[in-house]
C-alpha cells in the first residue's frame, strides 16, 4: 500500500504512530541502560535469592536462615538427571576439596526442581554420592516453585515417552554463590572444572 492512497488524516495518524514508536524505543533504551547500571552497581543483590522453606533428606523442614553465617553454593537440578547434574555436582565436590579450609565456610546445596519424583530419601541418597558435604533439598511443588522464583530459576517438564516417568527437566544450569547474610554474591559458571570453580569462589569469599 502506498501513502498516496490514504486520506491526509490517516497519514498524519500514521506519522503520530511512527513518532510514538520512536519515542517508546528511546524510552525503553533509557530504561534498559538505567537497569544495566543498577545491575552492575550491585542491584542484583535484591533480585536473586531470598527466603525459602524446603525439606532435607530426613524430611525435616529447612529454611534459608538455617544457613546464615555460611556462604551457600546453590545448584538446581533433579535426580533423574544422569548426565549434566552429576557432572556439575562432581566439579562442585572437587572445588570444595580445592578450597581447603575455606570450604568449611561454604555449604553446597542441591535443590530439586522435580518435586513430583524427588522425595527427601532419594535426594539424600543422590546428594550423598557426591561426598558428605553436599546437602540435597526438595519440597512440595509449591515450595520448589517459590524458591525457583526467588532465584530466577527456569524449569520445565519435557516428555520423552508415554510413561509417567518419561520426562526430563529443562533447568537453569548456573550456580549461585550466596553470602553469609543470605544475600546474592555472584553467579558461578557450571561449565568449568573444580579448580576453576574453586578459584572463582575463593576470589569472592571474604
Amino acid at each position: 500500500m502506498s501513502a498516496s492512497t490514504h486520506p491526509p488524516s490517516q497519514a498524519s495518524r500514521r506519522h503520530a504512530l511512527i513518532y510514538g514508536s520512536i519515542g517508546l524505543v528511546v524510552a525503553l533504551l533509557i530504561l534498559g541502560a538505567g537497569t544495566f547500571v543498577w545491575l552492575t552497581q550491585g542491584g542484583t543483590a535484591s533480585l536473586v535469592g531470598g527466603p525459602f522453606t524446603l525439606q532435607n533428606g530426613n524430611g525435616q523442614q529447612v529454611t534459608d536462615r538455617d544457613f546464615r553465617g555460611k556462604y551457600m553454593l546453590v545448584y538446581f537440578g533433579y535426580t533423574f538427571c544422569p548426565d549434566v547434574c552429576p557432572t556439575t555436582l562432581n566439579e562442585v565436590a572437587d572445588a570444595m576439596d580445592k578450597l581447603g579450609a575455606r570450604a568449611d565456610r561454604l555449604q553446597p546445596i542441591f535443590i530439586s526442581v522435580d518435586p513430583k519424583r524427588d522425595t527427601p530419601e532419594v535426594v539424600k541418597q543422590y546428594a550423598a554420592a557426591f561426598g558428605p558435604r553436599l546437602i540435597g533439598l526438595t519440597g512440595t511443588p509449591e515450595q520448589v516453585a517459590a524458591v525457583a522464583k526467588e532465584y530466577r530459576v527456569y524449569y520445565a517438564e519435557r516428555r520423552t515417552g508415554p510413561g509417567p516417568n518419561d520426562y526430563s527437566m529443562d533447568h537453569s544450569s548456573v550456580l549461585y554463590l550466596m553470602g553469609p547474610d543470605g544475600k546474592f554474591v555472584a553467579p558461578i559458571r557450571p561449565d568449568q572444572n573444580g579448580t576453576e570453580m574453586a578459584a572463582d569462589i575463593g576470589r569472592l569469599m571474604s
Binding site: 544422569p82 557432572t87 554420592a129 527456569y154 519435557r158 516417568n165 529443562d170 544450569s173
Partner: protein, 162 residues
C-alpha cells in the same frame, strides 16, 4: 537339482554367521563406562563408537539392567540445561562418535538394580547395517568425569571421593 539346492542352503547356513561377524567387526566400541546410580532412577552409559566398515547408523540401545534405554543428547541453551531423545546417530567410516558427559549418552531408564562402583553390566547397541553389538560397561563413581582406564594424573579420579 535337489542336491545343488541343499548345497546352496548349506553354504548359506555356513556363510551367514561369518557375514554377521564380519559386519560386527566393522563396528568397534571403546571405553564403555557408566556412573554409580540408584535403583529405580536413571543411569548413563558413555562410550566411543568407531566404524571401520561402510557408513552405518546407531538405531537402538538396550540393557538388561534397565526397563528401557534411549539415546539422549544433553545441551545448554541460554543457560538452561536440556536433554532430548535422539532417534539415531549417523556413523561415518573411520570417524569416531564419542558419547561423553554433557553431550550424547545412553540413558538407562528405571534401573532394575543399583549400579555400584566396580560393577560391570552389558549394553547392546543396534546398528542399521552391522546389527547388534554387545559390550561390557564398567561402573565408576557417581560423578566420574571419564573412564578409569584413561590416563589421568594428579590428585586422583573425580567422583571417587569417600
Amino acid at each position: 537339482m535337489k542336491l545343488r539346492l541343499t548345497g546352496l542352503l548349506l553354504s548359506a547356513l555356513v556363510l551367514a554367521p561369518a557375514i554377521a561377524l564380519a559386519q560386527g567387526d566393522g563396528i568397534q566400541i571403546e571405553n564403555a563406562w557408566s556412573r554409580a546410580a540408584i535403583q529405580g532412577r536413571t543411569g548413563v552409559v558413555y562410550l566411543t563408537i568407531v566404524d571401520h566398515g561402510a557408513a552405518d547408523r546407531l538405531t537402538g540401545v538396550s540393557s538388561p539392567v534397565a526397563q528401557r534405554a534411549q539415546l539422549h543428547e544433553s545441551f545448554s541453551e541460554a543457560g538452561v540445561s536440556k536433554m532430548r531423545p535422539v532417534p539415531s546417530l549417523e556413523l561415518d567410516q573411520g570417524k569416531p562418535v564419542v558419547l561423553a558427559p554433557g553431550g550424547y549418552h545412553i540413558m538407562l531408564m528405571d534401573l532394575k538394580r543399583p549400579l555400584n562402583q566396580g560393577d560391570t553390566f552389558p549394553v547392546t547397541l543396534t546398528f542399521a547395517n552391522a546389527g547388534q553389538v554387545t559390550v561390557q560397561v564398567a561402573v565408576q563413581g557417581a560423578g566420574a568425569a571419564m573412564p578409569m582406564h584413561m590416563p589421568m594424573h594428579g590428585n586422583g579420579m573425580p567422583g571417587t571421593k569417600p
